[in-house]
């Protein structure tokens, strides 16, 4: 039974850790947009090809 004297404080410690993590997550805005974030995990994350500043907007100037 004395093992409880070790286990219970560990349990409480885990609880405090869980609560702190949860509060941090909420405060940093991770729960603000549940729909968008929910779908975000389904996105593919291939490495983005970094292009130079695409001047497509300038070339459209000619198309008026």
């Amino acid at each position: 039974m004395t093992i409880l004297l070790l286990l219970i404080p560990i349990g409480i410690g885990l609880l405090i850790a869980a609560i702190s993590a949860f509060v941090w997550a909420v405060r940093s805005g991770q729960f603000d947009d549940l729909e968008g974030e929910g779908e975000r995990i389904l996105f593919d994350d291939e490495p983005l090809a970094r292009h130079d500043h695409l001047d497509i907007s300038d070339s459209w100037k000619d198309m008026k």
């Binding site: 609880l15 949860f22 603000d32 779908e39 907007s57």
Partner: protein, 820 residues
């Protein structure tokens, strides 16, 4: 526009709008050439392919619904951002040279758009962070201020077809966000605490059956106390505060028995722990707190969702003003205008303040208040309102009312006030609750007294278990879960509910009254007939007309434009000196010949009794004439077509419930109105009704005891819409009606009305089931508690099971079936 409709080969693959005849532009997307409707969509589709974003076409839930803006239009619209004062206003810059801004995005429909926007922005050199929030429709962008400007970011978004606007930090948005966060924190706290307390409680339960040393019992009890204390103090506080308020006002509500149960159980359990006697109920305390907080959280989400709809409409207010001062024209933020300032408004721009025209002759479109697409001609001395759009020529206006004093602002304030009412279903639940409260308290008191007489040492424990057993957990969860699920299902399908009375009202409706223009019909003129004369071909005159109307903002011009958009690319009929004469038409010169298009009496000045062609049963609203110096060239007839889903919707309503009367009430005096009603099978009791007559009709029906649902777009009919027991506004209707209506058909899908009615019937049944279950549970458990047979483990088990049953039952409302 659903994705199935896209499979029809004549729709643009990108936006779903019809491809104009004669336009052939395809873009290679996902391995095949797909039809496009205009250069805007074409360019965006090619951009997606080039950037590896074509997956968007696979993931999206629906087509864009509106053509992508042409790049030249977007470039012009961001010119104003060059001004440094505006840069300060909208862009925050920190010491490390990182600029950040929040942009409001139009046309953001689903998560696939989120993906496409973020990736496209991040691929731009200099962008450091881009995060889209679907719920607030904003994107937060951070970039290197040395390499990019706000304008670049906005143009980058426009490349993929999303129009965006910089956004000022919104107070109500921040308040909502904080409320969301604090409620969620309390909920999570209660949940985590409850789980932890269960560890100790289950040990105690096991001890009841298998025996446990008194030392171990004491330890478990004390641990339960230590963990429950913060839960009660933090998460249960709102209940105590609300209960106290209700006591002071003497209006009994759910919070009183809830607070009694939680507080009482907690205190008595503390007494039991310290004194080493009786039973402890810490697990019940925490679980109550958790379940009840869950109910509150769901209610809050519903409330916020309807608020966000209001907010999205208010976002349409103009941002900037072009103030005319001694130093010339300066672009300033709209809220910096003061009364007496002179400001200019270019064609196509929205007015930033109420005012009087000082110089200029033009027309303004005041759809946001009246819904009328026809602009009102104005000249010097006329008054104009903030939020309306200047359609024809530049204006110089003196501001008479600015900021929060404009007509627009005062209307919005009215609406926001109405928003905070609680839905009637919740009010009904409260009535049930107050009966319940008195009942429970009565039982508890009687129980206490009885036990005092029989065996006083058991009195407190049995009374405690009575309170625990009857804590209205299930009852409290019954309503918000069902409401949340039903509202969510309908919102996903396209009917956004902003007022609680909708669901109940729809379920018990006796009559549905439809407005005609804009509701049963599209409300926007489309070119229906072309009568070419003098041997010209239809496409030739059409191209001519389109070219002349290209820069006009008049709704007739729009009718040409949406169908002839592509012709910009194809033809270049070189017309010079295009001049728009407000109220009459457009004039231009081609190869030395003068052309005019517009009102017949102005186009051909000598009145030779020109009559437009008539046809059998013509639905044509208006005719305009195209002519040159030699004579008339073509007639263009405009129609207001019936919506495609009007007929299936009426059929759906009729087949669902034959007893519901279906009526059309329109102010249109023309015979085509009656023809439409006939075709759709709607009763017409009053034809050519004035707005006043419409309201009177609704009131008369209500006095006769009927429950009336009104469906309309609010064009000149605000009071008519409001008069109904339930008002459903069309998504394309005027802004004011959308704000004040009980529900909005976001995609103008009339077929949602019968579906929503069926669903509200279902909601009522499920609510009754939930109530019945909650009450039955209490009736079973109460005798056990009174006779002292309700052990803590039994109470906890029973309470969580009953809550779970209620929630699962409510979730059956979560998805609207596809069939009408």
């Amino acid at each position: 526009m659903t994705l199935e409709a896209l499979a029809d080969s004549k729709s643009c693959y990108h936006c779903g709008l019809p491809v104009p005849p004669g336009f052939h532009c395809t873009a290679g997307v996902l391995g095949e050439y797909r039809l496009m409707c205009c250069i805007g969509c074409c360019a965006v589709a090619e951009m997606f392919e080039a950037q590896g974003l074509s997956e968007w076409y696979l993931r999206r839930e629906e087509a864009m619904g509106s053509a992508a803006p042409a790049p030249s239009d977007v470039r012009e619209s961001v010119e104003y951002l060059e001004s440094p004062t505006l840069q300060e206003e909208f862009v925050e810059c920190d010491d490390s040279g990182t600029a950040s801004s929040s942009l409001l995005i139009e046309g953001l429909s689903c998560a696939a758009c989120v993906w496409v926007i973020e990736r496209h922005l991040l691929a731009l050199e200099g962008v450091r962070r881009a995060r889209v929030s679907l719920v607030s429709r904003r994107v937060k962008v951070e970039w290197d201020s040395q390499r990019l400007t706000l304008r670049d970011v906005i143009l980058r978004l426009a490349e993929i077809g999303f129009a965006s606007r910089p956004d000022r930090p919104n107070e109500s948005l921040a308040l909502e966000r904080d409320e969301n966060r604090s409620t969620l924190i309390r909920l999570g706290f209660a949940g985590l605490g409850a789980m932890n307390v269960m560890t100790y409680s289950v040990a105690l339960y096991a001890g009841t059956f298998d025996g446990m040393s008194s030392g171990a019992i004491m330890l478990m009890r004390w641990m339960g106390l230590i963990v429950s204390t913060p839960v009660v103090l933090v998460s249960a506080r709102p209940f105590f505060i609300a209960a106290w308020r209700q006591l002071k006002l003497r209006s009994p509500g759910m919070d009183i028995p809830v607070s009694l149960a939680i507080g009482g159980a907690y205190l008595v359990s503390c007494y039991a722990t310290i004194g080493g006697v009786g039973e402890v109920y810490f697990d019940s305390v925490c679980m109550f707190t958790f379940f009840l907080s869950l109910g509150r959280y769901l209610e809050m989400r519903i409330r916020h969702r309807s608020l966000s709809l209001t907010r999205s409409m208010m976002d349409a207010k103009p941002l900037i003003a072009r103030r005319e001062g001694p130093e010339g024209e300066r672009v300033i933020p709209a809220h910096a205008l003061i009364v007496g300032d002179h400001f200019r408004v270019r064609p196509g721009e929205a007015l930033p303040a109420d005012g009087i025209v000082i110089d200029g002759r033009s027309a303004v479109e005041e759809a946001l208040l009246t819904g009328e697409p026809w602009p009102r001609a104005i000249m010097t001395g006329d008054s104009v309102i903030a939020g309306s759009t200047n359609v024809e020529s530049p204006l110089l206006v003196e501001a008479t009312r600015v900021g929060s004093h404009t007509t627009l602002a005062s209307i919005i304030a009215l609406v926001e006030g109405a928003e905070s009412e609680r839905p009637p279903i919740a009010l009904m639940a409260d009535r049930v609750a107050s009966i319940f409260v008195t009942g429970v308290l009565g039982v508890a008191v009687v129980n206490w007294l009885t036990w005092q007489a029989l065996a006083p040492d058991r009195a407190i424990w049995t009374t405690l278990s009575v309170l625990v057993a009857t804590c209205p957990c299930a009852l409290s969860l019954a309503t918000p879960t069902a409401l949340a699920a039903a509202t969510h299902a309908l919102a996903k399908a396209g009917l956004v509910i902003t007022s609680g009375r909708v669901l109940e009202g729809l379920a018990t409706a006796d009559r549905v009254i439809f407005d005609k223009t804009g509701t049963l019909t599209r409300g926007r003129p489309t070119v229906a007939r072309i009568e070419a004369m003098q041997g010209r071909s239809e496409s030739e005159v059409r191209r001519l007309a389109e070219r002349m109307e290209r820069d006009s903002e008049h709704p007739f011009a729009h009718a040409f434009r949406s169908e002839g958009l592509a012709l910009r690319l194809v033809s270049e009929v070189g017309l010079d000196e295009i001049q728009s004469i407000p109220g009459f038409g457009v004039e231009g010169v081609l190869d030395g010949t003068r052309y005019r298009i517009g009102r017949p009496t102005w186009v051909v000045e000598n009145d030779e009794g020109l009559t437009p062609p008539t046809g059998p049963e013509s639905d044509v609203l208006a005719w305009i004439l195209l002519a040159n110096q030699e004579g008339p060239l073509a007639w263009f007839g405009f129609e207001d077509p019936i919506r495609v889903d009007a007929s299936p919707a009426i059929e759906g309503l009729r087949s669902r419930d034959e007893k519901v009367a279906l009526e059309m009430l329109s102010g249109d005096p023309s015979p085509s109105a009656l023809r439409i009603a006939d075709r759709l099978g709607l009763e017409v009791h009053i034809s050519a009704a004035t707005p006043q007559a419409k309201v009177e009709r609704v009131h008369a029906l209500q006095e006769a005891g009927e429950r009336v649902v009104v469906v309309g777009d609010g064009v000149n009919d605000g009071p008519f819409l409001q008069a109904g027991d339930v008002s459903v506004a069309m998504g394309s209707g005027c802004d004011l009606s959308r704000l004040t209506a009980d529900a909005v058909l976001m995609r103008n899908e009339l077929t949602l009305i019968p579906r929503a009615m069926a669903w509200s019937g279902r909601l009522r049944r499920i609510l009754y089931q939930n109530f019945a279950w909650a009450i039955a549970y209490n009736l079973v458990v109460l005798p056990l508690a009174v006779t002292g047979h309700l052990a803590p483990w039994l109470a906890a088990l029973g309470m969580s099971t009953s809550s779970l049953v209620v929630v699962l039952n409510a979730l059956r409302l979560n998805r609207l079936p596809d069939a009408v």
